[in-house]
Symmetry: C2
Subunit: 355 residues, 2 copies
Amino acid sequence: MSLTHQQLTTHLGKITPLDRDWGNKAKARLDNLTKPLGALGKLEECARQVAAITRSLTPDLSRKIIITFAGDHGVVTEGVSAVPAEVTPQMVANFLAGGAGVNVLARHVGAEVRVVDVGVAVPVSGDGLIVAKVKAGTDNIRKGPAMTEDEALAAIQVGIMACRDAINDGAGLVGTGDMGIGNTTPSAALFAQFLGLNPGDVTGRGTGIDDAALVHKIQVIADALKVNKERCTSPVATLAAVGGLEIAGICGMILEAARARVPVVVDGFISSAGALCAMEMKENVIDYCFFSHMSAEQGHRLFFDKINAEPLLHLGLRLGEGTGAALAMSLVEAGVKIMTEMASFAEAGVNHDGL
Amino acid sequence: MSLTHQQLTTHLGKITPLDRDWGNKAKARLDNLTKPLGALGKLEECARQVAAITRSLTPDLSRKIIITFAGDHGVVTEGVSAVPAEVTPQMVANFLAGGAGVNVLARHVGAEVRVVDVGVAVPVSGDGLIVAKVKAGTDNIRKGPAMTEDEALAAIQVGIMACRDAINDGAGLVGTGDMGIGNTTPSAALFAQFLGLNPGDVTGRGTGIDDAALVHKIQVIADALKVNKERCTSPVATLAAVGGLEIAGICGMILEAARARVPVVVDGFISSAGALCAMEMKENVIDYCFFSHMSAEQGHRLFFDKINAEPLLHLGLRLGEGTGAALAMSLVEAGVKIMTEMASFAEAGVNHDGL
């Protein structure tokens, strides 16, 4: 039962503007706490945004769930990655065993990791895996579209349902994650197409390719955009033409978080491509997003410049999986705890003349 | 029993260079984990530095203690702060009651907060307070020295002992914190004096003074440096002349952490002034420090430029107390957990050809 265009439109229509009154109420609360006005900077901005999203001054973010979408990419046959595609299912197994970076960081911040197979090229299984494979990897975008629009819609639907389940299970804060060898290539293609940028400006070294491979990767992306030019007639069509299945899943996850008014932390380069697809479908989705970090992958800076946003962290991360999301979820939660747990001037008997 | 100059010199002599072999061993371990080389950026750098400090690939950072030093400043009578000095003891009470920003963030990251009265102007008491008052606030640095060298040494000793107690209690990671109305003024004076900068370049709005008050504050600092010029003949003498009691406590804490080879997370603007004093006494103390964040307070950027370091976080914080240290302690711990908990390629059965 794939999502139809009409159903997607209906979903997008349910994403409401933020309630700025709640942001203002949060500011009033924050300004009355035992600190100089605004002295906790971005933590306070996080608290205000969560209040506006959830329409609450006491949002419960204690249950945090990261959803990591896995998919493969036909374009890997073009030699765009330093790593073979077999690593995608190997890393899925690593996630399920709890040994990957995202597992370590999620445990550290008290978050759960869920793993979704939305498009791994080979059969994968394991305890806890959410099996929702739409297609066994995309087709080679240098030769034609990554997938059909129906497949893109189905992958978006997978993201919607995974996010809905997480929220139904009590998640007050969700985070995106990705696994897919080769997926910086479709992500860069989406940034170039949606933001009107040159492939060379948004293409980086991914897992660590050398100079010659980087030049080749840029050419592959330019070719993919040329081959698929006529197909890029709408956000869904563009996602289908040059995107990826896990990117579509992340897009759907963000659309559902926004519809349900649950704050969502966007991981890194790949997740930002998914967020950009969602924002192209419905602009104010961005109001529900917290961007976790500035990736070391070239092009991420341009994405933030274009959407006029600034990520929370600058740690030189370029792993994906949801690793940056995990760290940033802890910061968003910290901001909310400032709002809910700090003493006011009156409660603490602290003089605030002059502030 | 105050610290003598000779005892301080002996202490400084016990601070050893980092063991780079352990940093290299940590790098080898990190490079063998299931991720592209260096893909976790600054988290990996944290892990390597902790390994070099502790001479271990399995350092235990589970017990984390923040020590917040409180002291008052005679220079407040010059009108350099938006907030009256009575807020210092009020905030000490707030810390002890668990209602301040540092309490909230420390709980969030699983750290303990200890509060030391090293120089509050009025008597303070309360459950858990470490009472080690050297002097009831500094004297007005616009008129003369903040304190005597013996008093500065005594306050350094307070920091040494508080840190030693924390380490004896099992702390594997310590963080600095400060409370003292007016303390951006002596901090800016120390930055200007030690780094050869103009007071105007390192002086900011603290708790939130207006333009006219900022101009006045800069003049006060320039006057303080002029009045005390002949006294600034050594790091201890300079700290005594234009510093503060809590800044001296922080300096001592950092010196002891370095001696004991325990990583120390330096909070914000005030704590950086304490760290700078320690580094002026023994340059390689910096190798034991993790700088938590770039304060919104003007001048912090110049400090980092001068010492050629970059803080972990850029969140526009300007509260002090140890709030930034709390958040950054969690990042340092995250880096160490990456090193100790992530699966290797062999353990996870992940192909790493090409990496």
